[in-house]
C-alpha cells in the first residue's frame, strides 16, 4: 500500500520539476488518446509541438504563438496574485470581454478622428472596464461574503450577452451592410494595434504582457503588497497578525486581475480580432487559469507556460487541419495538462512511502493523534 506522507518542507526542486513532468505525462497520455482516435500518435505530437517552431511554416507560426501567448500571459499574471492570496477570480473571460467592449466603445465614440491619443485612451478605458467588472464580485464578497468564484463565473455569461448585444446594437458598423460586428479597428490608424516588428507577432499586448511579467515579478518579490498576498494565502491568521486587511487584498487582487484582463481584451479587439463581434471571446480568460497554475503562479513561470499553451493552440490547429483531429481532442489535450500538473503537485508537498497494509489501521479517534504529531 502506498502512503503519502507530508514532506517536512516542500521540495523546491520538485516544485519546478513537476510542470516538466506534467508536460511529459500529457504528451504520453495525449499520444494514447490520438492513437485511440486512429491517428499516428508520434506524428500528432510532432505536429503540435515541433511544426510550429521548426516546421516549414515556422516563420509565420511563431508569430501566431506570440499573438496567442500575449493575452494568456497578461491575464495569468493578474490572476496569479489573487490565486496566491486565496481570491478566486474565475471570470477573467468576462472581464476580458467587458474590457474590449469599453475600450472599443471609447475609441469608436471618437471615430473618425485621427490622433495618437485615441489608442492610449482606449487602453485606459479597456483596463477600467475589466477592473469595474471585477469589482462586482470583489465588493459583493467584501460586503456580503458572497462566493467570488460563482459571481465572477456567472458574470462571464452576462458579459457574453453584453457582447452579443453590443455587436448587434450600439457598436454595429453603420456601414456594415447590416452584418453584426463593429467597424474594423485594425483599419483605423488611431486604434490599430498592429505588429510592432514585422514577422514577430509582437503587438502592444505582447509588450504589455512582458511589462506585466517584469512588474509582477518585482511586486511579488520586493513589494509589501506581494508579501501580503503570499502571507494571506499561506497563513491567513498570521496575515491578520501582521496587519494585512483581508478585504483590501481581495479588492486589490480582483482589480489587478480584472484590469489586466480588460487590457488584454482591448489589445485583442484592436489587433488580432480587429472588431467587436459575436464570436470575439475565444476562451483566453479560462485558459489563463491553466497558464497561471502551470507557471506556478510566478510571473517567470507564467511567461513560459503562456508560450507553451500558445504552442499547443497553434500546433493543435495544425493538427486539426492536417490530421483531421477533432477540436475537442485538442481541448482535451490542454485539459490534461492542468490535470497532470495538479496531480504531480502532490509530489512536491508529499512523498510516497511503501508500507505493508496494516489490517489494524483503525480510524478510531484514539489513534488520530498519530497524524497530528
Amino acid at each position: 500500500m502506498i502512503v503519502w506522507e507530508r514532506r517536512p518542507a516542500p521540495s523546491r526542486a520538485l516544485a519546478w520539476a513537476t510542470p516538466v513532468l506534467a508536460v511529459a505525462l500529457t504528451v504520453l497520455a495525449g499520444g494514447v488518446l490520438f492513437a485511440l482516435l486512429g491517428k499516428d500518435p508520434v506524428l500528432a505530437i510532432r505536429t503540435i509541438f515541433w511544426e510550429p517552431l521548426f516546421g516549414p511554416f515556422a516563420g509565420y507560426l511563431r508569430g501566431q504563438i506570440a499573438i496567442k501567448a500575449a493575452p494568456l500571459i497578461l491575464i495569468a499574471v493578474g490572476l496569479s496574485f489573487g490565486f496566491r492570496a486565496g481570491v478566486w477570480n474565475i471570470g477573467a473571460e468576462g472581464q476580458y470581454i467587458v474590457g474590449a467592449l469599453c475600450g472599443a466603445a471609447a475609441g469608436l465614440a471618437l471615430w473618425p478622428a485621427e490622433t495618437r491619443w485615441i489608442f492610449p485612451l482606449m487602453v485606459l478605458a479597456g483596463t477600467l472596464g475589466g477592473l469595474v467588472w471585477a469589482m462586482i464580485p470583489a465588493l459583493l464578497r467584501v460586503r456580503f461574503g458572497t462566493n467570488e468564484i460563482l459571481v465572477s463565473l456567472m458574470l462571464v455569461y452576462v458579459a457574453s450577452n453584453l457582447l452579443a448585444w453590443a455587436a448587434l446594437g450600439p457598436l454595429r458598423n453603420p456601414e456594415g451592410l447590416g452584418f453584426p460586428g463593429s467597424r474594423n479597428l485594425r483599419q483605423w490608424a488611431s486604434s490599430a494595434n498592429l505588429e510592432l516588428v514585422p514577422g514577430t507577432g509582437l503587438h502592444w499586448g505582447g509588450v504589455a504582457a512582458l511589462g506585466a511579467v517584469a512588474a509582477g515579478w518585482v511586486l511579488l518579490a520586493r513589494h509589501p503588497f506581494g508579501f501580503a498576498v503570499r502571507l494571506m494565502g499561506q497563513a491567513p491568521r498570521a496575515a491578520a497578525f501582521a496587519g494585512v486587511a483581508p478585504s483590501r487584498v481581495v479588492v486589490l487582487c480582483m482589480a489587478l486581475s480584472g484590469g489586466l484582463a480588460g487590457a488584454a481584451g482591448l489589445f485583442e479587439v484592436t489587433g488580432p480580432a480587429g472588431q467587436v463581434s459575436i464570436d470575439f471571446a475565444a476562451g483566453y480568460g479560462f485558459t489563463a487559469i491553466i497558464v497561471a497554475f502551470l507557471g506556478r503562479l510566478h510571473p517567470g513561470g507564467i511567461l513560459l507556460a503562456g508560450l507553451l499553451m500558445a504552442l499547443t493552440y497553434v500546433g493543435g490547429e495544425m493538427a486539426q487541419q492536417r490530421l483531421n483531429l477533432p477540436a475537442a481532442a485538442i481541448s482535451l489535450f490542454q485539459g490534461m495538462l492542468l490535470f497532470f500538473l495538479l496531480a504531480t503537485d502532490l509530489l512536491a508537498t508529499h512523498r510516497p512511502r511503501w508500507r505493508r497494509a496494516a489490517p489494524s489501521a483503525s480510524p478510531l479517534p484514539a489513534a488520530a493523534p498519530e497524524e497530528a504529531r
Binding site: P8, H223, A235, F241, A242, S360, A367, P369
Partner: protein, 512 residues
C-alpha cells in the same frame, strides 16, 4: 525486577537524522505512578508511542506482565491492557460524551448501557460526567475526564498520561491526583509525563529522566529536589530567572484597558475586562485557555477592533487602530500559536521577521521591502536569542517549537516595545529555552517596558509576574500582587474546580 508490570530493555528508535530513543530500559511496577521526565525532544513521546503501538521500535524488547509486548497498533495495545490519555484531545465536538466514548471502543454496547457504565465509572473515580451532553459544551477539564473515562472503561493495567495537568486549575489537579492515587491503590500502573516537577514530587514514587533519547538518570522524586531533577533533564545547571526590583508604584500606567467587552463566535469572549500596567511591571494573567485568552490577545494586537477608548496606550485611545498602527506606537504582541499565527510556517525567518517588524525596524524603503535589512534583523534575533536554526533562510516549519518561540519572542523584544503582550510564552518549550524566554521578559521589564504575560502555567506566572489576575469565563479578576499570594487563593481567583468532586469510593479517604 520481578514485580515490574512493564519492562523495556534496550529500546531504540531512529528517524532519518534523529535518534529518538537510544537503548532505553525502563521498569514500571504495578500499583505505582512512574514519572517520565525530559525536555522537549528528549524522546518521551516516542517511547510512550512505542508502548501504545503507534511507533514500531527498531530494536529492543518490551514485556507486559511477563508476556512479550510488541503492539502493531493502539488497538492491540488496548487489548493488552494499556490506556493512554493524550495531551491533545481527540473528541468530536458535535457528538455527545457517550457517542465519543463509543467511537473509541471495539464493539460498543448500546448507547443506553454505555451511558450507565460511563456514569458508574465516573462516579466511582470522582469524575462526574453526563453521558448525554455534547462535547462542545464541556470545559477543557471535563473533556479530559471523557478521555480518562474512555480509558478506564477498558480496565487498563497501565495508564499513560501525557501532560495531563496543563489545562487544569489547581483544584482540578488535586481531584485528578486523587483519581490517579485511587487507581494506583487498585493496582493500576501509571506512566506520567509532565514537566511540572512539583507535581511529580507530589504524585510519583519513581522517575526516569530522558535526555537526547537516552535514560540519563532514575530517581525517587519524593526525595529529590525539583532543581536537581531539572538539572538532570537539561544536563547542566539551570538558570533561575532573576527578578528585577518591583516597579515604582507611582509611575503612571502605560497600557490601560477599561470596560473591554468582545463577543466571540465560539462563545465566551470578554466581558467588561479592565486592567492597567505600568512601565517596568510584569502583569500575569492566568486561567485555562478558552476563557477569553485568545480574544484578549486579538483585541490588544488589533486583529479585532474595539471601542477606541477601551484600550489606551499612554493615554491615547488605540482600540480602533489596526495592528501596524499599534506597533508604530509601541504596543507589540506575540500570540500563543507559533505556526500559522505568530509566524507563517512555510516562510523563511527573514520573511517572518518582516511579518511583524516592518514598521518598527524600518524594513520598507521607498515603498519596497528591504530584504537585506530584514535578513540582518532576523540574524540579530537568531544571535541574541540563541535560536538554533540553519540560518535566516530556514523556514519556520524547520525549527523546533522552542526555537521558533525564541525567535517569535525575540523578534518582538528587539523592536524595543513599550508594551509587550505575550501568550503562553513557554508552551511546549523545553526547560532551558523557557528559562531564557522568561529571563528575556524580565530584562525587558527591567528596561522600562510594560509586559503582560497571558499563561496557563501558574508556576511561570508566580516566577515572573509582579501582579496576578485571573481570566475566567471572559471576566478578569482584580490584579493582586504576586508576593504573598497562595496557591489556594489563585485557585479561587480562577473560579475553583468547575464543579469537580473528589473521588468518593472506598479509597477516597486514603487519597485525601
Amino acid at each position: 525486577m520481578t514485580d515490574a508490570l512493564l519492562t523495556i530493555r534496550g529500546l531504540t528508535k531512529t528517524y532519518p537524522g534523529v535518534v529518538a530513543n537510544a537503548d532505553v530500559s525502563l521498569d514500571v511496577r504495578a500499583a505505582s505512578v512512574h514519572a517520565l521526565l525530559g525536555e522537549n525532544g528528549a524522546g518521551k513521546s516516542t517511547l510512550v508511542k512505542a508502548i501504545y503501538g503507534l511507533v514500531r521500535p527498531d530494536r529492543g524488547t518490551m514485556t507486559l506482565a511477563g508476556r512479550p509486548h510488541a503492539p502493531s497498533s493502539p488497538r492491540e495495545a488496548r487489548a493488552a491492557g494499556i490506556g493512554m490519555v493524550f495531551q491533545h484531545f481527540s473528541l468530536f465536538e458535535a457528538l455527545s460524551v457517550a457517542e465519543n466514548v463509543a467511537l473509541g471502543m471495539e464493539d460498543p454496547p448500546p448507547l443506553r448501557d454505555l451511558g450507565a457504565r460511563i456514569r458508574d465509572v465516573s462516579r466511582e473515580y470522582g469524575l462526574p460526567l453526563d453521558p448525554g451532553r455534547p462535547v462542545r459544551d464541556l470545559s477543557a477539564g471535563e473533556r479530559q475526564r471523557v478521555e480518562i473515562v474512555r480509558c478506564l472503561l477498558g480496565r487498563p493495567r497501565l495508564l499513560i498520561m501525557d501532560e495531563p495537568t496543563s489545562v487544569l486549575t489547581p483544584q482540578e489537579v488535586a481531584i485528578l491526583f486523587a483519581t490517579l492515587r485511587q487507581l494506583r491503590a487498585e493496582g493500576v500502573a501509571i506512566l506520567y509525563i509532565s514537566h511540572k516537577l512539583e507535581e511529580i514530587r507530589a504524585l510519583c514514587e519513581e522517575a526516569t529522566i530522558l535526555r537526547a533519547g537516552r535514560v540519563v538518570a532514575t530517581c525517587d522524586p519524593r526525595e529529590t529536589p525539583a532543581r536537581r531533577m531539572a538539572e538532570m533533564m537539561v544536563g547542566g545547571s539551570l538558570r533561575i530567572p532573576a527578578r528585577a526590583a518591583p516597579a515604582p508604584a507611582e509611575s503612571p500606567p502605560v497600557l490601560e484597558v477599561e470596560g473591554l467587552s468582545l463577543a466571540s463566535p465560539r462563545g465566551g469572549g470578554l466581558r467588561d475586562v479592565s486592567f492597567a500596567v505600568r512601565a517596568g511591571e510584569v502583569l500575569g494573567i492566568g486561567g485555562v485557555a478558552g476563557n477569553g485568552q485568545e480574544e484578549l490577545l486579538l483585541a490588544l494586537s488589533g486583529e479585532r477592533r474595539t471601542a477606541p477608548g477601551a484600550i489606551r496606550l499612554r493615554g491615547e485611545a488605540v482600540g480602533a487602530l489596526d495592528p501596524s498602527a499599534r506597533r508604530a506606537r509601541g504596543l507589540l504582541c506575540a500570540p500563543e500559536e507559533r505556526n500559522g499565527h505568530a509566524a507563517a510556517a512555510d516562510m523563511t525567518l527573514t520573511e517572518n521577521a518582516f511579518l511583524s517588524a516592518r514598521v518598527r525596524a524600518g524594513l520598507v524603503r521607498r515603498g519596497f521591502v528591504d530584504w537585506a535589512a530584514a535578513r540582518r534583523f532576523a540574524e540579530g534575533v537568531i544571535r541574541a536569542f540563541d535560536v538554533r536554526a540553519p540560518g535566516p533562510e530556514a523556514t519556520a516549519r524547520q525549527l523546533s517549537g522552542g526555537n521558533l518561540q525564541k525567535f517569535v519572542i525575540g523578534r518582538e523584544i528587539l523592536q524595543k516595545p513599550d508594551v509587550l503582550v505575550v501568550a503562553q510564552p513557554t508552551w511546549g518549550v523545553d526547560a532551558a529555552a523557557a528559562a531564557a524566554i522568561r529571563q528575556a521578559l524580565l530584562d525587558l521589564a527591567a528596561g522600562g517596558a510594560a509586559v503582560v504575560v497571558v499563561s496557563q502555567d501558574l508556576d511561570e506566572l508566580m516566577e515572573i509576574a509582579d501582579r496576578f489576575a485571573a481570566l475566567n469565563e471572559g471576566r478578569l479578576s482584580p490584579a493582586r500582587p504576586v508576593a504573598g499570594l497562595s496557591v489556594e487563593e489563585i485557585g479561587l481567583m480562577l473560579g475553583g474546580a468547575h464543579g469537580m468532586e473528589v473521588a468518593h469510593s472506598r479509597h477516597a479517604g486514603a487519597a485525601a
